[in-house]
């Protein structure tokens, strides 16, 4: 049977709803579906021809860029991008949607068609159930894909077992909204439906977790919503960390100046239990917080597929990689980037952010192309820039430059916005441009 690309994608796309064995749903929970039929596991989806092949797993901030840049750097390399969903919804800026500052998620949503049309990336919509490094194959819900090199940018899943009572029902009732999409809508709808005078509770985990300033920005924007639309209401942010872990001076100033009556920050409060029926969360069995709307952001680890593929390190959470090409230290030929990684660092690591993943993906692409062409690898140089909104018209930012020092990634320059808020309005417009540019880069 011969298949041209269009038919192939149709076939694979149609097969993406097949049984999935123990892998993450879009919301990141373990699914207990029956095992995939043996035939789906062993069928080679696209028999590998003469061309060198890179299979990229995950079509988010890291995977789209890795796929595109490998093709830009060497169009003789075949690139297959495997992603379950037909569209990607950005976590950065999803707090705007949650807090009612965007009417829908269209500004956060991109497709994959132009990566295919402009760069010849072959996009396969299927769920990856395992990366078999020994066989150099990616196992998907629709069949296997052989590779010469594999790049994985799978994102995170949740250590929900560390929160008692955080079951499938709690997952909907107390949404995390920390993967953008249906979860963001759940939280937004609950906020909008809450009566004035209600209490919103956000709980956030210990570091490291995805997007360090994310929960604090969310607190600002939800407090902004409450102040404007439900002024008798209150937001309590329960931080498992003893103190604010990102942009502290800027966020605390915003909370004091703008949201004093609506927002209460409490550090050192690790939520260990949820009680959906009783509308409360418990901090280590000692203290209960009652509320009306709950946003429980659980502790995190690398995506479930990484655990299943034995790519997670001794901490059982993150994927260790080297600094030469972000190749897994546990499996040859598998390169990992983005939120799921643990990268040898001298001092603070690269934050788990969209921009970090973007920068890491380019490094990975350059070096995989060089490795496949027998050329020397290139040392890391990268950037992180994160904007956080503190209101509907103001943003603050943090920026980092990274280089390789003694074989480890080190911050060579880092700074945050001035604390006098003299630049918040202009940074708000730069934040909007940032979103437009980085999503355009990922989708064209």
């Amino acid at each position: 049977m011969t298949l041209d690309r269009r038919n192939f994608i149709k076939l694979v796309g149609g097969a993406s709803g097949l049984a999935l064995a123990g892998c993450a749903t879009q919301d990141g929970r373990q699914q207990t579906a029956p095992a995939a039929p043996a035939v789906a596991k062993t069928t080679e989806l696209m028999p590998k021809g003469g061309a060198r092949r890179v299979v990229v797993v995950g079509g988010g901030y890291g995977g789209t860029i890795a796929a595109k840049y490998v093709r830009m750097l060497d169009p003789s390399i075949e690139v297959i991008l495997v992603e379950k969903n037909k569209q990607f919804v950005s976590c950065p800026f999803s707090n705007f949607y949650i807090a009612g500052l965007m009417k829908d998620m269209s500004a956060l949503t991109i497709g994959y068609d132009k990566l295919a049309a402009n760069h010849g990336v072959k996009v396969v919509h299927a769920e990856v159930t395992q990366i078999d490094a020994a066989a150099k194959k990616v196992v998907t819900s629709a069949g296997t894909l052989s590779y010469d090199r594999c790049i994985v940018s799978p994102g995170i899943d949740f250590r929900s077992e560390e929160i008692e009572g955080y079951d499938a029902k709690a997952f909907e009732a107390f949404p995390h909204a920390y993967k953008a999409g249906p979860q963001s809508a759940l939280l937004r709808n609950q906020l909008m439906a809450m009566k004035d005078g209600g209490t919103v509770i956000i709980s956030m985990p210990l570091v490291p977790y995805r997007c360090p300033p994310g929960p604090y920005e969310r607190a600002c924007l939800i407090a902004h919503y409450l102040k404007k639309h439900k002024p008798k209401s209150k937001l309590i942010l329960l931080d498992a960390n003893p103190d604010v872990v990102s942009k502290k001076g800027l966020f605390t100033k915003a909370w004091n100046n703008y949201y004093k009556g609506n927002l209460e920050y409490v550090g050192g409060k690790k939520v260990t239990q949820v009680n959906v029926a009783g509308r409360s969360v418990s901090v280590e069995g000692i203290e209960d917080f009652k509320g009306d709307v709950f946003n429980v952001i659980p502790p995190q680890r690398a995506a479930n597929v990484m655990v299943k593929s034995a790519l997670v390190g001794e901490d059982k959470r993150w994927c260790p990689v080297d600094t030469v090409s972000f190749e897994s230290t546990l499996a040859k030929g598998v390169h990992i980037l983005g939120d799921s990684t643990s990268i040898p660092s001298d001092g603070p690591p690269m934050p788990k952010s969209g921009y970090s993943a973007n920068s890491q993906a380019k490094f990975c692409a350059i070096n995989i192309v060089n490795l496949l062409n027998g050329k020397p690898t290139v040392q890391f140089s990268g950037i992180n820039v994160c904007y956080s909104a503190i209101s509907d018209t103001e943003s603050v930012s943090i920026s980092h430059v990274f280089a390789l020092v003694n074989g480890k990634i080190k911050v060579t320059s880092s700074a945050v916005s001035p604390v006098d808020f003299s630049l918040t309005k202009v940074e708000f417009t730069y934040g909007e441009s940032w979103l437009r540019n980085i999503l355009t880069e990922m989708s064209t």
């Binding site: 595109k68 950037i383 003694n406 730069y430 441009s433 979103l435 540019n437």
Partner: protein, 199 residues
């Protein structure tokens, strides 16, 4: 702090001079960052290959090397006002700026499609011809020495820069000040519409 790129550069010199290299001398066998490695990271804010889709972000594609280097040095010292750019510039050396200049000068001119006022574009064309064209060549599509590419930059970005010039926060060269300061507010506005329209 010595980054590994400096060390490998030094080792490279040593090897060239005939010194033996010990196996443990280098932390990494990789070569120092190439212009691509350094400059690809800029695209998160400035677009792939420096072709910006963000209305307040400048396109960097096809700028002259000297223009990029000059801008980055001024951002680093704070001579040119900025938010994130000056903070990031502090993490890079003059050699890195040269690598960025090398990369962006090799990228193709990026035409944008934006809404402009036709009457202003017409008026701006005459103003440009009479005042700007000796330094911003080919209707602003080409830089001369360290002058930046003006053509097809986003109108919103151009207006922000004009406001910085007018407030004195961003300094003009004497040549530019001689021309710009003679223009009326309406002429300046027309000029920006013209540059935004050039493809």
């Amino acid at each position: 702090m010595k980054t590994d790129r400096m060390k490998t550069a030094l080792l490279g010199t040593a090897a060239f001079a005939g010194f033996a290299l010990g196996g443990a001398a280098s932390a990494s066998p990789s070569v120092p960052p190439t212009p691509e490695m350094i400059s690809f990271a800029c695209a998160g804010c400035h677009g792939t290959s420096g072709a910006s889709a963000g209305l307040t972000m400048p396109t960097l594609a096809s700028h002259s090397k000297a223009s990029i280097v000059d801008a980055m040095k001024k951002f680093k010292t704070g001579e040119r006002p900025s938010t994130v750019m000056g903070r990031l510039a502090k993490g890079y050396s003059d050699a890195d700026f040269a690598a960025m200049g090398d990369f962006f000068s090799r990228q193709k001119f990026h035409p944008t499609h934006q809404v402009v006022d036709a009457a202003k574009v017409k008026r701006g064309a005459d103003i440009e011809e009479a005042n700007c064209s000796r330094c911003h060549l080919d209707q602003g599509k080409e830089g001369k020495d360290d002058t930046p590419v003006m053509a097809s930059q986003w109108l919103e970005y151009l207006k922000m820069q004009a406001a910085l010039y007018d407030s004195g926060a961003r300094k003009m060269s004497k040549d530019m000040a001689d021309k710009w300061n003679r223009l009326s507010k309406e002429d300046r506005e027309a000029l920006l519409h013209f540059y935004a329209s050039v493809k």
